[in-house]
Amino acid sequence: MSAPVLEIRDLTVTFTTPLGPLAAVRGIDLDVRAGEMLAVVGESGSGKSVSFLAAMGLLPKTATITGSVLLDGRQLVGASSKELRAVRGQLMSMIFQDPLSALNPVHRVGDQIAEMLQAHQKLSDKAAKARSVDLLEIVGIPQSGDRALQYPHEFSGGMRQRVVIAIAIANSPKVLIADEPTTALDVTVQAQILEVIQKVQKQFGTAVVLITHDLGVVARVCERVNVMYAGRVVERAEIGDIFDAPSHPYTRGLLASLPQAGVERLSPIAGFPPNMLRPPAGCAFRARCPHAVAECGETLPTLRQIGASHSACIRAEEVLTSS
């Protein structure tokens, strides 16, 4: 087991809204180990993106962040914008769902990669240009020399996401945060982009945090999984255990709701997620949970070890043995 390169401890993110404080992330602990492919899964509003936007220092001023985010020993919570600028793109990069809005439409893609290189390294224009062509090649863009001179609108969606990845890995960061990187892409193109991300992870030893709602994608490429619900990590396990022996009722519900061959009727999770302007006391999932008991409403459950996994369910043992 390799040492964590990113250590998140008791991270909270609260947004100030006209309707009052909104608790988007409510105390998460999470380690990203060097060179691993880590999944963070959850549905909309679970806090999976916000947690990592907070780590990157990319949230607006309406967000109040507490806790600790250590990247390679550096504290990022409360860091100055100058310190954060030195980290972003150098030690940790992030890519998003929509590659078009991540690129500048009026600059050639080669120049956009070169800009990222020169922001963190002393490189001549010529060397930066040569390196940006190499990077395009690495992410699988054919005729990379010519393509470097083109503009984003001349690329297809899949090719644009490759360009964004090239920019993100230009300075060989230790951590790449990929926030729903294939959600906007067609499934045949998704397969290509996942391959590129896996190649980056294996070839450069970059740790990848894959934020996604797609459990199929997780099953294909990830090693460890964090499941988030209502701003908390509710289960953490190795890939095999998450799918074979989920120990949190939410994880079980999520898996059961997927359409699978031979299943006549789908099993949705009853109800819907809580309003985070007024998060419920105790376990946030209890209103939808078939295993809930009165005790679930008393204290906010924390992750504890259950077999090889960690579950934030006080009834995890019963959940595991129930059919």
């Binding site: 549905e43 297809s156 899949g158 397969a191 199929g216 099953a219 709701s257 359409p259 789908l266």
Partner: protein
């Protein structure tokens, strides 16, 4: 295929073509034409669900809109309950429209935020001049889709995405349609919510017997709900047939590649599967490849594929596919 002599299909689409004219680039005079749908034919029987799958630009949504005549087809015929929709007068089209409804992808954009849910659901009844007490009808529709009577007085912003989609379904059901086009009806919903809406579609069909054209890019949802499936690519049907056959024994290389690209939520299965990795992206529909449209990404393509366009042919496994080199 349905035996049309004895049991005429509810919907029959023959040789459907839809072209869009685009403004030419750089002020040139030459008009550019995009053929979004090229020669598409299929039938939908009463009580049946046809799944329409394909990647972006495949023309699946355009087909759905042409069926309802929300946009006018360039050529081809759409026959609904035996009547050619291109040759009915305004009055008759109005009557036929009652029987054909649509549910859209975005449950936020498809409901008027200033109308109460009850008013939204009653609107088709008002537009069609249905007499009687709409209030009762609205309550029964709300209950039919798993909502409560008192929801009628509330506004869309008070509902979650899944509930809004149920409201959209209630509105589509108001006129007792025989056909509902479901255009990516669960794509915007989280999976735990999606499952409930998919079950609702199945329940409603079992109860009311309407037909669905279910348009989606999510192949596993379509497999779950569809009786038959049509796989589209760049405006053409590549393969069409019983869902089980198309999924278990795909005969078109594109279908095979598409199915192999969908990740299976089971790490053991997923990591042992052999995957067909398609090169590149879907070509531009403005300038589709000659011959077979899939040939530029196909590992089986030969000279023949570039020159002769393959037509849909019946395969031993019971589905039609358009390929010169079908999978066994």
């Amino acid at each position: 295929m349905t035996d049309s002599s004895k049991n005429p299909p509810l919907l029959s689409v023959q040789g459907l073509v839809k072209e869009f004219h685009m403004r030419s680039q750089r002020g040139g005079r030459r008009k550019r034409v995009v053929q979004a749908v090229t020669n598409v034919s299929f039938e939908v029987a009463r009580g049946e669900t046809l799944g329409l799958v394909g990647e972006s630009g495949s023309g699946k949504t355009t087909v759905g809109r042409c069926v309802l005549r929300l946009i006018e087809p360039t050529s081809g015929t759409v026959t609904f309950e035996g009547r050619d929709l291109a040759h009915v007068d305004v009055e008759e089209m109005r009557n036929l429209r009652r029987k054909m409804q649509i549910v859209f992808q975005d449950p936020y954009a498809s409901l008027d935020p200033k109308m109460t849910v009850g008013a939204s659901i009653a609107e088709p009844l008002v537009v069609q001049g249905v007499p009687g007490n709409h209030e009762e009808k609205v309550v029964s529709l709300l209950e039919l889709v798993g909502l409560a009577a008192d929801h009628a007085r509330r506004f869309p912003h008070e509902f979650s995405g899944g509930q809004r989609q149920r409201i959209g379904v209630a509105r589509a059901l108001a006129l007792d349609p025989a056909l509902i086009v479901l255009d990516e009806p669960v794509s915007a919903l989280d999976v735990s919510i999606q499952a409930g809406v998919v079950n609702l579609f199945a329940d409603l069909q079992a109860r009311l017997g309407m037909s669905y054209v279910f348009i989606a890019h999510d192949l596993s949802v379509v497999r779950h709900i569809a009786d038959r499936v049509a796989v589209m690519y760049l405006g053409k049907i590549m393969e069409i047939g019983p869902a089980e056959q198309v999924y278990e024994h795909p005969t078109h290389p594109y279908t095979k590649a598409l199915l192999s690209a969908v990740p299976v939520p089971n790490p053991r299965v997923e990591r042992q599967r052999s995957r067909i990795m398609l090169e590149g992206d879907v070509p531009s529909p403005v300038n589709p490849p000659s011959g077979c449209r899939f040939r530029t990404r196909c590992w089986k393509a030969t000279e023949l594929c570039a020159t002769v366009e393959p037509v849909l042919e019946m395969r031993a496994t019971g589905q039609l596919s358009a390929c010169h080199h079908p999978e066994a």
